[in-house]
Each structure stands twice: as structure tokens, then as C-alpha cells.
């Protein structure tokens, strides 16, 4: 079991209020991703849940039990750190066994759990090595192994993939998602990378300046962002925003159109502009277009769309795919 509830959780470092008050419900078995730009308080929120930081106010409940004043170890959570935080002088086996040893678990049970975790994570051949002899991805797996042997009620991941190279990151992303399916344990995952959030989450929590901007499934956030910030943060490349006459035509202060929701034409359309850079990825082409009123737009065209630097193009937003925002940035 691992349902986690936050009630008006606040955190201040001295006079600086980092988290002004967060309410959140996490169901048992959910994969929840906290996402937001750096400095938005997502890691602090995770550390508050872990118990590594003390809350300044509010309540944290795990399975209905108030754990606000409990020490980290008593909360039954396991955490994977950004730097992996492996113990450098211990072998992989000892690293993974450490939490069990601290819990004074039966020796046979310790061995059984370590072997099991090693098998799940493909670490069996590396059990007697030191962390220094492992690659980044293997260290990552050891850190995860150390978390899963405890059979915690929930896993906390603090930007676990940010130290890996791009190819490995994609692989580990899939592995962690598969692990979640296999274990069906609650996971809270912090990242600044919206691609990780979109691909892994059951539920995304978008944070800005310590406030929850929106909570929802990846597609909910994609389809109906609550405000301009969420709209701009979710989706890659970012949503384009148009103001002035184009927005007024739609009866809004600003309108947003995702790059993939433009129809492109070399002859006619709603907005005319000049192609700056054309990024040909093969499957897609991303065109950086400077509209005649000076707005910079990124639009996705089909892979073999033949537009070059300096060409005139016309863009037409698809019907029903125009997001309207008022002057405060809230969706209309």
C-alpha cells in the first residue's frame, strides 16, 4: 500500500517561502511525476515527503497515517538520488543489502532479496564489484536495487536520469516504466524534462514557484492545459503564442497553437511568414518561421516538406486546436 496525501504542506527556508502550500492526493500504485522548471520547488517537495526536510506547516499522510513528524526511515519510503549516493567503499552486494542489514533482517531473507533484485535489474554479474567500477547506467540500477529490496510503500526518484547520456536515458526511462508495471508500487518521480514526464507518468503535477499549476494525466495536460504556463511547458517543441490581431480574432488576449497543429502551405493560409531555420529530422521537419508581424513560430511539417531558408510559407491552425488565454494567462 502506498497512498500519499499532502494537506496544505508549506516550506520556508528562513524568510524565503519555497512552497506556499500544496494539496495533493496520490493513489496507491500511481506513477506521479513532479515536473517544472529548475527552482520550482519540485525537489524540495519530494524531500518533504521523504522526511529529509522538515515541513514548515501542513500535514503529510501515508496510507491515512500522519507521518509529518516521523523520521525518514520510519515512513517506509525508498529514494533514488540524482547522484545515486552509492556507498563507494562497499561492493554492489553490500550496497543493496545495507538497508536490510540496518533493519536487522534475517540473513537468508537478505540473500534472497538481493539475488531477486539483482536478477530484475541485470546486476547478477556485478554483485562483487565496487560502484567505482560500474558505468553510469549500472550505478543507477544499483541505486534502484537498493531501493527495491526494502519493498517500500512508495519509491521517490529525484531526477535520476539527469547524469546519464541521451541514449542511456531513453533506455532507463523504459526500464523504470517497466519496473513500475512489474512492482505496481507508488512512484513519485521528479524531473525538469517534460518528455520524461509525458512518457512515464500516470499523473503529472506541474509546479511553478512552489505552486501546483495543474494536475492531470499526460494527455489531459496536453489537451486542456489550465493556463499559459502549463500549455507552454507540456509538449515538444513548445507551444507557439500569438497576441494582437490574431488573438483578437479569436476573442482572446493570446492564443496558443502547438507546432504539430499547423497546416503548411507554400501558397495560401492564415499567417504568412519567412522560413528561418528548417530542421529536417527525416520523419518530421521543424520550421522556424518569422511571421510578418515579427512573431517567431515553430511549426512541424511532414518530413519531406520542401521549404528552405528564406522561403515564404503560409500557416493555418487546425480547427479546434487553438488554445485561448485571457490577460492573466488562464485558459478560456
Amino acid at each position: 500500500m502506498g497512498s500519499i496525501t499532502l494537506r496544505n504542506v508549506r516550506k520556508a527556508f528562513g524568510d524565503v517561502e519555497v512552497i506556499p502550500g500544496v494539496d495533493l492526493d496520490i493513489q496507491d500504485g500511481e506513477f506521479v511525476v513532479f515536473v517544472g522548471p529548475s527552482g520550482c520547488g519540485k525537489s524540495t517537495l519530494l524531500r518533504l515527503i521523504a522526511g529529509l526536510e522538515d515541513v514548515s506547516g501542513g500535514q503529510i499522510m501515508i496510507d491515512g497515517q500522519d507521518v509529518t513528524e516521523h523520521a525518514p526511515a520510519r515512513r517506509g519510503l525508498a529514494m533514488v538520488f540524482q547522484s545515486y549516493a552509492l556507498y563507494p567503499h562497499m561492493s554492489v552486494r553490500k550496497n543493496i543489502t545495507f538497508p536490510l542489514k540496518m533493519a536487522r533482517m534475517d540473513q537468508d531473507e537478505q540473500t534472497r532479496r538481493v539475488e531477486h533484485a539483482a536478477k530484475i535489474l541485470n546486476l547478477t554479474d556485478y554483485l562483487d564489484r565496487k560502484p567505482g567500477q560500474l558505468s553510469g547506467g549500472q550505478r543507477q540500477r544499483v541505486a534502484i536495487g537498493r531501493a527495491i529490496v526494502r519493498e517500500p510503500s512508495a519509491f521517490l526518484f529525484d531526477e535520476p536520469l539527469s547524469n546519464l547520456d541521451a541514449a542511456l536515458r531513453v533506455g532507463m526511462r523504459v526500464e523504470i516504466s517497466e519496473l513500475h508495471k512489474k512492482l505496481a508500487t507508488t512512484m513519485i518521480y521528479v524531473t525538469h524534462d517534460q518528455v520524461e514526464a509525458m512518457t512515464m507518468a500516470d499523473k503529472i503535477v506541474v509546479l511553478r514557484a512552489g505552486r501546483v499549476e495543474q494536475v492531470g494525466s499526460p494527455l489531459e495536460l496536453y489537451r486542456s492545459p489550465a493556463n499559459r504556463f502549463v500549455a507552454g511547458f507540456i509538449g515538444s517543441p513548445n507551444m507557439n503564442f500569438l497576441e494582437g490581431q490574431a488573438a483578437a480574432d479569436h476573442g482572446a488576449h493570446a492564443i496558443g497553437v502547438r507546432p504539430e497543429h499547423f497546416r503548411m502551405s507554400l501558397t495560401e493560409g492564415s499567417f504568412a511568414g519567412t522560413v528561418g531555420v528548417a530542421e529536417h529530422l527525416g520523419s518530421d521537419t521543424f520550421l522556424h518561421v518569422d511571421l510578418d508581424d515579427g512573431t517567431h513560430i515553430v511549426a512541424r511539417a511532414e518530413g519531406e516538406f520542401a521549404a528552405r531558408h528564406g522561403d515564404r510559407v503560409w500557416l493555418t491552425p487546425e480547427e479546434g486546436r487553438v488554445y485561448r488565454f485571457d490577460a492573466e494567462g488562464l485558459a478560456i
Partner: protein, 289 residues
């Protein structure tokens, strides 16, 4: 080809410094070795003659010799134990952010800047003196008879003084090591359910192993040669109770004017120091890659 030329040029350029250092080391060692085989007494400096192994036999059969070797070992081990244990404790205390951290750190390091004879004299006359030392005042305050430290516990007194001097060194090295301990590791251990004691045993101590090795090796080199503190406090007494090997050699040379005997003692001390060095490198040197 270019690399080989660069290498031989580098060797050529290094040579003067290395040769100078070698001469600096070999000449005194050679002269000591030479004197150790001579009957050479400063009371009769012209009457030198070849002595063979006599000086060594004389030094070796001196009952004070084994006492001095024992005292040397007790002194070194005592000071090492005190400085490493207390040094770790103090380093962990001042590693935490506290009010007036800068001043506290300077105060803790300051004993290292006091010259050994000065430090020993302060301890002798102002702290351990049986009639007007601080310890005597404390003892009187509690209604106890003051302890005459240098008469009753001469070697212990010297261990305390020397440990006081070397504590800052150990603290400083261990503090820098502590500061490089990864905070996330500590937090991970906390999440893993390790209490403060377990974290100290399983994380802090292994992390400090290398720094402790450095402390032990460097201190041993200097502690084998402790001399000034003994000279200004106990003069090696009472009897030979606080005479270490260095002081025994000093006594042979400067009180008995027996240069040959002192030189033989010096050579024996060098050999013993090398034994200690080999033993130490075997025991703790594996912490240094």
C-alpha cells in the same frame, strides 16, 4: 624520438636537485655511520681510534636502551590514539555550522603554531605544576591532593603535552576529509534506516580511512623524534621513565660527550624507524592507492 629526447632532457634538468638532495641525505648518514665505528669522545677528541662493533654492543647492552625503545613506542602509540580519536570527534563537531565558526576553528588550530619547547614550558609551569598549576588548583578546589605530574606520571605528562600539540594537525586533516563526504550518501543512509551510530561506522569511518592513514604516517615520522618537550620538562627522568630513543642519543652525545656511542644509537634508531615504517605501510598503507 621526440618523446625520448624530452625524457632525457627532463632527467638532465632534474638531476642537480636530486643530486643535491642525495648529498644532503647521504653525507650526514655516512658520517654518522663512520663515527659509529670510532672510539670518539669529545673529552679526548684527538684520541680517536677504530672501535669495530663496540659502540653498538655498548648501546645495545645498556639497560636504558630497551626502556627507551619501549617509551618511544608508548609515546608514539599514545599520542596517535589520542589525536586520531579526539581529532575525529572535534572535526565532526566543528564540521557542523555553529556560531563563530571561523574563530572556533582558528582557536582549535592555534596550538600547532606554538613552538614545542614553549608549549612544554607552559604546560610544565602553568598547568601541571604541583603548587601553582591549573590542575593543582582544580585538585585543591575539589579537596584532593595535587598531582606532581612530572614526578608521578612523567611519560603520561609528555604524551598529554605532545598530543595537545598534534591534535590540531589531526583535526585539520580529518575536517577537510569530512567536508568532502557526500551529503546525499548520508541522506541515503538515513532513508535506509541507519541511525547516527551506524552512519558513523558504515559511512564516516570508511570515508575517513585515507585521511587517518595520512595523519598516522606523518605523525609517526615526527613523533619518533620527540625531544624538546622531554628536555625542558623531565630531562628524561625520573630515572629513565621518560627517556625515549632520541633523548637517549642526545644524552650520549651531549652529556657523556660520547660521539661514537651516540652515532651508533642514531643508526639503531634509523633502522628501528624503518621497521616501524615498513610495518605501518603494510598495516595502513593500503588505504592509499
Amino acid at each position: 624520438m621526440a618523446t625520448r629526447q624530452t625524457q632525457s632532457l627532463a632527467r638532465l634538468m632534474r638531476a642537480p636537485a636530486i643530486i643535491l638532495l642525495l648529498i644532503w641525505m647521504l653525507v650526514p648518514l655516512g658520517m654518522t655511520l663512520y663515527y659509529s665505528f670510532l672510539n670518539y669522545n669529545l673529552l679526548n677528541p684527538t684520541g680517536t681510534s677504530w672501535a669495530g662493533w663496540f659502540n653498538y654492543r655498548y648501546f645495545y647492552t645498556d639497560p636504558a636502551f630497551f626502556e627507551a625503545v619501549g617509551n618511544t613506542l608508548v609515546l608514539v602509540l599514545g599520542v596517535l590514539t589520542i589525536t586520531v580519536v579526539l581529532g575525529t570527534a572535534i572535526a565532526m563537531l566543528i564540521d557542523k555550522p555553529i556560531f563563530g565558526q571561523g574563530i572556533v576553528r582558528i582557536l582549535i588550530i592555534s596550538p600547532f603554531f606554538v613552538m614545542p619547547p614553549v608549549a612544554a614550558l607552559i604546560w610544565k609551569n602553568m598547568i601541571m605544576h604541583p603548587s601553582y598549576g591549573v590542575f593543582a588548583d582544580l585538585a585543591k578546589f575539589f579537596g584532593q591532593a595535587p598531582i606532581d605530574w612530572f614526578a608521578q606520571y612523567p611519560l603520561t605528562s609528555i604524551i598529554i603535552i605532545v598530543a595537545w600539540q598534534w591534535l590540531p594537525f589531526a583535526t585539520l586533516i580529518l575536517l577537510t576529509a569530512l567536508q568532502s563526504l557526500d551529503g546525499e550518501q548520508m541522506e541515503a543512509a538515513e532513508m535506509d534506516g541507519a541511525g547516527a551510530v551506524s552512519r558513523f561506522i558504515h559511512l564516516t569511518l570508511p570515508h575517513l580511512a585515507r585521511a587517518m592513514t595520512v595523519v598516522i604516517l606523518i605523525q609517526t615520522i615526527f613523533l619518533l623524534g620527540i625531544y624538546a618537550e622531554i628536555l625542558v620538562t623531565t630531562n628524561g627522568g625520573p630515572g629513565n621513565a621518560s627517556t625515549n630513543l632520541t633523548y637517549l642519543i642526545y644524552r650520549a652525545a651531549r652529556l657523556n660527550f660520547d660521539i661514537g656511542g651516540a652515532a651508533a644509537g642514531g643508526i639503531i634508531a634509523v633502522i628501528l624507524a624503518n621497521f616501524v615504517a615498513i610495518f605501518l605501510m603494510r598495516a595502513v598503507g593500503r588505504n592509499l592507492d
